[in-house]
């Protein structure tokens, strides 16, 4: 296929990706160095209230946004360098907190709070997802042919459900005296409130995430199990390998490429954790990096969106993605070069 035909086939897709992915990235990058603000002017306002003998008059200085001839607020955009990054990172406060050894003070800064949660969330759910996925794949593979179809159907439900709704559905089971909270209270004999402290909410979010993504891991690994070489299993059996050893030394090495694939997808997706925050409405206790950007983008009470701060936090989020992707990308590149 010559270049011209190739370009004709691929062109529309590349165009869309350039226009809606690459271009926004550049614009986010440049926005993060600029700040758009209304111009304020300070005027003296005299307010008088009727008094007993004379009027009481108070003169105070007010800063109000300047208006142009159409009555719109005049806004200026100016280069502020790394100011937005400083506003998001709050390095001085963070450094003070670290030097005084106060974890609580450190975690009261939004960015570091979000970073801490995003990383723990990603790293804790990863092994749980792989482990549960592998276990489900093994038992489905072990089940008789007749039940496999229905079981896969049921397993697909948590995967396919809208993430916000899935999180909400688990939320409703635990909210207030929901059935599961009631069951736990009955079992432990203690009063339990799942949404009163951060760690229980985090726990529920992780439970939700594993529930939501384990089916994907399970189905991919189940497909991988179908291609395990029966001869090597048989030889292992003849050599006297136990069931566990066969799993550990024959089956898992065979599934390794798939496990790496699932881990990569999981790292990318869990790092973007966002829907859980909405579904569990946990923003008071727990936030994630993506939610931080989202929160800057949502208009505040005055209707202003802090675009430059959102851009700065978006760029900081990107750094994490790049760190995550370096290892797999280097491997792909080596494979590609080796292939030629």
């Amino acid at each position: 296929m010559n270049f011209k035909t190739f370009a004709a086939f691929v062109g529309p897709s590349i165009f869309m990706m350039l226009l809606f992915i690459a271009f926004p990235l550049i614009s986010v990058f440049s926005q993060s160095f600029y700040l758009t603000q209304p111009i304020y002017e300070i005027i003296e306002v005299e307010t008088c209230t009727p008094g007993f003998i004379t009027q009481t008059c108070v003169t105070e200085e007010q800063s109000i946004p300047k208006l142009d001839e159409h009555g719109d607020i005049i806004k200026v955009t100016k280069f502020v360098g790394l100011q937005s990054y400083r506003n998001v990172l709050e390095l001085e406060r963070a450094w003070d907190a670290i030097t005084s050894g106060s974890w609580r003070a450190f975690q009261s800064i939004d960015f570091w709070k979000a970073l801490r949660f995003t990383l723990t969330f990603t790293l804790i759910t990863l092994p749980l997802n792989i482990g549960l996925g592998l276990a489900i794949a093994l038992v489905i593979n072990n089940a008789s042919k007749a039940v496999r179809g229905p079981v896969i159907f049921i397993s697909l439900l948590p995967f396919i459900i809208t993430p916000v709704i899935g999180a909400l559905s688990i939320n409703w089971l635990f909210r207030g005296d929901g059935v599961l909270t009631a069951a736990m209270e009955w079992y432990t004999g203690r009063d339990i409130a799942m949404f009163a402290q951060a760690w229980t909410i985090e726990l529920l979010m992780m439970v939700y995430r594993v529930w939501h993504v384990a089916p994907f891991a399970a189905i991919v690994l189940y497909a991988g199990l179908q291609t395990v070489n029966q001869d090597s299993l048989e030889s292992a059996l003849i050599d006297g390998a136990t069931r566990w050893q066969r799993l550990r030394y024959v089956v898992i090495p065979h599934l390794m490429p798939l496990i790496v694939f699932i881990s990569m997808i999981h790292l990318m997706d869990a790092y973007r954790v966002f829907e859980e925050i909405v579904g569990f409405s946990s923003q008071g206790h727990v936030i994630s990096l993506q939610w931080l950007t989202y929160d800057f983008l949502v208009p505040d009470q005055a209707g202003n969106r802090s675009i430059s701060r959102a851009s700065a936090s978006a760029m900081l989020t990107m750094i994490g993605i790049i760190v995550l992707l370096i290892a797999p990308l280097r491997r792909t590149w080596r494979d590609h070069k080796g292939g030629h």
Partner: protein, 384 residues
């Protein structure tokens, strides 16, 4: 292989079966539970006792309930519908529709089954029951509390159908555009072994990893002020892109592109290149080969990819909630808003009913397309 040597001890079989059962319960329970909750009055729905939630005494006390007979007949109708939809209807479609017009046959068949079901379930069944229930004594007495008032509230009073239309529009747009653009690109990438194709795929992979909020931070200011910077090109009627469904469609299509082209490429690689080589030898250009030879055999891959595009458009919260204004929301942000805003339990149950309404189509989707979804999940992975 001799099955004797691999035979498992009973304890292992039991553990395996138990684990499978527990997993199925865990997987289905939250969804099943919100479905149950949505049919009860608030008192029952948020009762701490699970049995009260299922049987709904407070709902029953209000006079909304089902008798044993009603449950049995209802189940029979459901089972009959399932049989008709999975056996009779496909057979009839196959034997009656002309070759080449199969899709029309399927469309008519599905519509007929759906209308028939609605008619029997919601019109004929209640009529039959109203006659039979008083006659049958204990069998005809209400035992299970059940009310559909929350669904009425959501769909009629709260204007959820408006959100539904928006969702439908966005999803349909995303699926059709992203498949059109993606199929061409996937084919091109699969048939080209050049370095450029490799780099495009790698960059697409990086794009796939980007958090969507990063991209939205890029769109928002541009979209809000689009009337200004578009006016030199389009004149006075330059649109504000913010709040326009088609702008959201374009954004979602682009976000979905990396995934789509990876998936379609792996499907196209499975179609032997000899096919289009042969067509080229017979004098077709690349595009003609694509249209006449590849298009007829590419549908399984396209349907699978389309399903995942559908899910992306249908499930999206972040992009639609930020780029569409509050009056013009799709379903997911609307429900999240309902849930966060409302404080009374009645409103919560209404939100639950909305959540079930949005999940029901997904449930049907898995039912019909289970095989395609599974093949899609494994396509990228197993073939490497």
């Amino acid at each position: 292989m001799s099955s004797r040597a691999l035979r498992q001890p009973l304890s292992l079989k039991l553990t395996s079966a138990t684990f499978l059962t527990i997993w199925c319960v865990i997987a289905a329970f939250p969804i099943f539970w919100i479905a149950v909750m949505s049919f009860k009055t608030p008192v029952d729905a948020f009762d701490a006792n699970a049995l009260n939630v299922i049987f709904g005494p407070a709902t029953l006390a209000k006079g909304n309930g089902l008798s044993v007979l009603a449950i049995l007949l209802g189940l029979a109708v459901l089972w009959g519908t399932f049989k008709v939809a999975s056996k009779t209807m496909p057979n009839m479609v196959r034997s009656y529709s002309k070759p080449g017009l199969q899709w029309l046959g399927w469309l008519v068949g599905c519509a007929a089954v759906a209308i028939g079901f609605l008619l029997v379930f919601f019109a004929i069944l209640p009529m039959v029951l109203s006659v039979l229930n008083p006659v049958l004594g204990p069998l005809g007495q209400d035992v299970l509390g059940l009310t559909t008032e929350h669904y009425k509230t959501v769909w009629i009073d709260r204007g959820f159908s408006n959100n539904f239309q928006n969702s439908l529009l966005v999803t349909a747009g995303v699926v059709s555009v992203s498949l059109t653009v993606g199929t061409l690109a996937g084919y091109g990438l699969a048939r080209s072994g050049s370095n450029l194709a490799f780099w495009i795929l790698i960059i697409a992979l990086v794009f796939r990893a980007l958090p969507h909020s990063v991209l939205v931070a890029g769109y928002l200011p541009v979209f809000i002020s689009s009337a200004e910077w578009l006016s030199p090109i389009l004149g006075d009627n330059a649109p504000t892109l913010y709040g326009k469904p088609w702008a959201v469609i374009a954004v979602l299509v682009a976000i979905n592109q990396p995934f789509t082209i990876w998936m379609l490429r792996s499907f196209f690689q499975n179609i032997p290149a000899d096919l289009d080589e042969a067509a080229r030898v017979d004098g077709c250009s690349h595009f003609q080969a694509f249209r006449r030879v590849i298009m007829p055999v590419m549908w399984p891959g396209v349907i699978t990819t389309g399903l995942f595009s559908f899910l992306l458009g249908y499930n999206d919260f972040l992009v639609t909630s930020l780029l569409l204004d509050a009056q013009n929301q799709t379903m997911v942000p609307a429900i999240a808003g309902m849930f966060n805003r409302e404080t009374t339990t009645t409103d919560q149950v209404v939100a639950v009913a909305a959540a079930v309404s949005i999940t029901a189509p997904l449930f049907l989707l898995v039912m019909v397309f289970q095989r395609q979804i599974v093949s899609g999940l494994t396509a990228g992975a197993v073939k490497g």
